[in-house]
């Protein structure tokens, strides 16, 4: 569809139409708990209270947000950490009764004037990693949660049967209701609940409802994502965005929650009651104009979303193909952005929250499903985004329609496309080597490029198939590694090196072999290998702007802190550097996009009425970042051991990989490992791989040393109490935990740097326990 100015009522998506008997569905509900609250106003970005729901006891209550909480944790993910700290134990695991699913907003969340301001931050103890996972997601739920009166929603306990939690801002009422008859899969369930709870039978009323759900896949795997709905008045469907990483949807279904619904009575451009709406509108409009004028020459997000990255990644050898063995592939052009552009619906405003003119949330409408329970139906597919297309490359699926089908089912089944795709790619590689085979895979022929097998795997998983492989495979790469090793299949070293997980979480879709800084960007992280903390490949590998360990460490301090800030405020990162001012390249630090940093300073001040500067923004993040790492220590993790990354992300694991980039690696053996040319020529490929392995592994350890030092952590990666106090995070219980861990590390000799330093090289400091001298 390329015709513009179509009246909203006249749009037709071409989707299969459904009519639901919502009365019948609603009549089957039994109200288990009801809580009426006093309506309040959001003041300068804060609702000033959080909502607590316990499904084991069917209690609902509210907690105040104190000034101290705002000062220390800012909001969003910070509030989530604080609420978890107050509620869980060091022994809490993902399926423990006391584990919580927390959905938070942030003071800037719900602003409509500045692009990318509708994000929710979701936190829980992850099944994959046993530590806190945080995930950032669009859709209307976050803003609506705040506008109904709460900065965060905290769900503890487990229901005995499937329930929905309804937060009704119209009647100021929160209910827990049994929901036995609704569908579980999100694209249907979200539609049913939206029609059920909308105040009127109009699109405008339906747009005031948002649903959080996860599908059947989330029930039977550890890759469960949360689908956050946003009703599209033109397409007349509940579109959705995913809080993908770390199994949040798995936790939702484990608690027997079918969905959480938020409904607002009305809202406008100043429902956050910003301190200075005039400045806010000016800063926001300036960005809209930048996007209008420059996006088409820069990322063209408005036309193709994040898929524009596919061709760039392929060009720079960064597009993961065949389980990250390669970074580019001859067939890749079949899935470049112009191929998806042909499918995407044009012109419709595609922001996942109102006012986001970056509009990267593309859809394919009227897509005819080819497999599974919805075969033959025409549906809206939300996406794909770059990561999902990257998964296609990783599984060697070189047909846009296959990627769309994979995308659709992952979404409606509530599966994180990233974890699902990365894990299947690993299983495919193991299949190629014969470590897995048809028999060991419950009859699935999981070779690279086998689209039918991929879909069959998803459908069987969603049906709760009890095959041994299906059950283990649905828990991800880490558990399959352990399973294959236990079975005695294959070379354990190969299995460890090739499976792309760290901390138990699957990698997202970038090849990092040639960028040491980005290896740190994935490994030296809080929740696991996700590119939301830092994306340094171009700075490091292409532009060589951060050549030394100290430079890389500085980048691995600044960027994770900067990017954390978005999560504290309820914002999206994309409008920061996926659009840049025309003169950005001429600034002192183009990678930081200084003008946009200044926008955010003005933006936060305009909403909250504070008077902060750019340094204070980083401090806000540093407080929460260190707190989260400290909580990981409290949970028995958060050390150098957990920051291990698989060798596939560092260098060539197999001979095939080495030979495919032989000139590059041979040259490095001479330049970096300092071997003589004649020596290299005489070496066999396995010998070369080994030499490179030893060198690159040590480079990573040296990087960890430099980064830990820059962050004020011990050589074992523990935030020091001195650092925490400096940041004003002086909780005595947590400080004691850290001191005890550091003392224990001292006894077993872990307070020493991990890298091996040759003559002329130095660790970050030679002062033992340097932080004690502060």
């Amino acid at each position: 569809m390329v015709e513009g100015q179509i009246p909203v009522a006249e749009y037709d998506s071409g989707n299969t139409k459904h009519t639901w008997n919502v009365k019948k569905l609603l009549n089957a509900h039994n109200i288990l708990a009801e809580y009426t609250y006093q309506k309040g106003k959001v003041i300068k970005g804060y609702a000033n209270r959080t909502l607590y729901v316990n499904l084991s006891t069917n209690t609902i209550s509210e907690k105040p947000v104190t000034d101290d909480m705002k000062k220390k944790f800012t909001g969003g993910r910070g509030f989530g950490l604080k609420l978890l700290w107050d509620s869980i134990k060091p022994t809490t695991r993902w399926d423990s009764e006391e584990n919580e699913l927390v959905i938070t907003t942030g003071p800037l969340c719900g602003t409509t004037q500045y692009a990318g301001s509708g994000k929710s931050l979701c936190l829980t103890i992850s099944p994959s990693t046993d530590i806190i996972c945080d995930s950032n997601v669009g859709g209307f739920f976050g803003p609506y949660l705040k506008f109904t009166g709460f900065d965060a929603l905290e769900i503890q306990g487990k229901a005995k049967e499937d329930v929905v939690i309804v937060i009704d801002g119209e009647r100021s009422k929160v209910t827990i209701e049994t929901a036995p008859k609704e569908e579980v899969n999100s694209h249907v369930l979200n539609e049913q609940l939206t029609h059920m709870y909308a105040s009127k039978d109009t699109d405008s009323a339906r747009q005031k409802v948002s649903v959080v759900s996860a599908g059947k896949g989330a029930e039977h795997s550890w890759w469960g994502c949360l689908n956050f709905s946003f009703y599209d008045i033109r397409r007349k469907v509940c579109r959705m965005k995913q809080a993908g990483r770390g199994g949040l949807g798995t936790v939702l279904r484990n608690k027997h929650i079918k969905a959480v619904v938020a409904k607002v009575e009305r809202f406008d451009g100043v429902t956050n009651h910003p301190a200075d709406p005039v400045t806010l509108a000016k800063v926001g409009t300036k960005l809209h104009q930048e996007i209008r004028d420059l996006d088409r020459q820069q990322c063209n997000m408005r036309a193709v979303g994040t898929v524009h990255l596919v061709e760039i990644m392929d060009q720079y050898d960064l597009l993961p193909t065949e389980n990250y063995r390669f970074g580019s592939f001859p067939k890749a052009s079949k899935i470049f952005s112009p191929k998806f552009y042909e499918y995407f619906t044009k012109i419709i405003p595609d922001g996942c929250w109102h006012g986001c003119t970056m509009a990267c949330a593309k859809t394919v409408d009227g897509f005819t499903i080819m497999t599974g329970p919805y075969k033959g139906q025409n549906v809206t597919v939300d996406g794909p985004e770059y990561e999902t297309v990257g998964c296609g490359a990783n599984m060697s699926l070189w047909d846009p329609a296959w990627i769309l089908e994979f995308n659709f089912y992952c979404d409606t089944y509530g599966l994180d496309t990233i974890s699902t795709g990365t894990a299947i790619a690993f299983y495919m590689e193991m299949f190629e080597y014969g470590i897995l085979n048809k028999e060991r895979c419950d009859g699935l022929e999981l070779y690279f490029g086998n689209f039918d097998a991929v879909m069959e795997f998803l459908h069987r998983m969603a049906r709760g198939d009890k095959g041994e492989f299906i059950i283990v495979a649905a828990k991800g790469v880490r558990r399959v590694k352990d399973w294959m090793k236990k079975k005695g299949w294959g070379n354990p070293q190969l299995i460890e090196d090739a499976g792309m997980e760290s901390k138990g979480l699957e990698y997202s879709e970038y090849v990092t072999k040639e960028s040491l800084a980005m290896q740190g960007g994935y490994g030296l992280t809080l929740k696991g290998p996700q590119h939301d903390e830092a994306w340094l490949i171009f700075m490091d590998m292409v532009n060589n702007q951060i050549p030394t360990f100290k430079d890389k460490a500085e980048a691995l301090h600044y960027f994770p802190m900067w990017r954390t800030w978005f999560g504290l405020n309820g914002l999206c990162k994309l409008p920061w550097n996926d659009i840049e001012p025309a003169n950005n390249a001429e600034t002192d630090e183009p990678a930081k996009v200084p003008e946009h940093v200044q926008n955010y300073v003005e933006y936060q001040n305009a909403v909250t009425g504070w008077n902060v500067d750019k340094e204070e923004l980083i401090l806000q993040s540093e407080r929460c970042y260190n707190w989260q790492r400290a909580m990981n220590v409290w949970l028995g993790k958060g050390t150098r051991k957990e920051d291990w990354i698989p060798y596939r992300s560092i260098g060539p694991v197999t001979e095939m990989e080495y030979v495919s980039r032989k000139d590059r690696y041979d040259a490095q053996l001479i330049e970096k490992v300092r071997l003589k040319k004649e020596q290299v020529e005489r070496m066999s490929v396995p010998e070369k791989i080994k030499a490179l392995y030893k060198h690159r592994r040590n480079e990573y350890e040296k990087l960890a040393d430099a980064v830990y030092y820059r962050r004020g952590w011990t050589p074992n990666g523990i935030p020091t109490p001195q650092k925490m106090k400096q940041l004003g995070m002086d909780d005595s219980k947590l400080l004691k935990v850290l001191q005890k861990k550091i003392d224990d590390d001292e006894k077993v000799g872990k307070n020493v740097w991990g890298g091996i330093y040759k003559k002329g090289e130095k660790p970050p400091t030679t002062v033992h326990n340097y932080w004690e001298k502060w």
Binding site: E3, Q5, P7, D268, G284, R292, N300, G355
Partner: protein, 150 residues
């Protein structure tokens, strides 16, 4: 569904204009019940070296497809209309208007624009303004959505 084919837009006769800005005052009266004109007027008269210029919405309607809540639509008479009660103040239309004719006053978060009501035409003592009928197909503009420049 049948849609309106024509729309009334403002036409300016600069040689007749004396720069009295009675038009702006009349316009701000319509939108903000004040005769301040200026930032509160959808029509602006600018003094340039070449003489007076009018700056106002020409009803091309690019903004319609920018609105996430459907607050912008062509009315039966073809006018591009912003429904203030539906608007959520995001300024997407303001930022994307190619001629800067979607206005925002500091007085409220919702923008405003020319609705071809004729108040300015009536207020002009020199008959420098008139409303003329144009074919919508001739003036219509759709927001950029191409691959070409990439």
């Amino acid at each position: 569904m049948e849609h309106q084919k024509t729309v009334k837009v403002l036409k300016f006769h600069p040689q007749k204009c004396t720069g009295c800005r009675k038009c702006e005052q009349a316009c701000s009266q319509v939108h903000f019940k004040t005769d301040e004109g200026g930032d509160k007027s959808a029509i602006r008269i600018l003094k340039t070296k070449q003489g007076y210029q009018m700056h106002v919405c020409d009803q091309r309607g690019l903004c319609i497809d920018m609105c996430p809540v459907g607050a912008l639509a062509r009315r039966k008479n073809g006018i591009v209309w912003l429904d203030k009660n539906t608007c959520i103040g995001c300024q997407a239309c303001v930022g994307f208007c190619p001629i800067g004719a979607m206005r925002k006053s500091d007085a409220r978060i919702e923008p405003f624009k020319c609705i071809s009501c004729g108040a300015c035409v009536r207020a002009c003592p020199e008959q420098a303004l008139e409303l003329v009928e144009k074919k919508i197909d001739d003036i219509k503009e759709v927001v950029y959505h191409g691959l070409e420049a990439h």
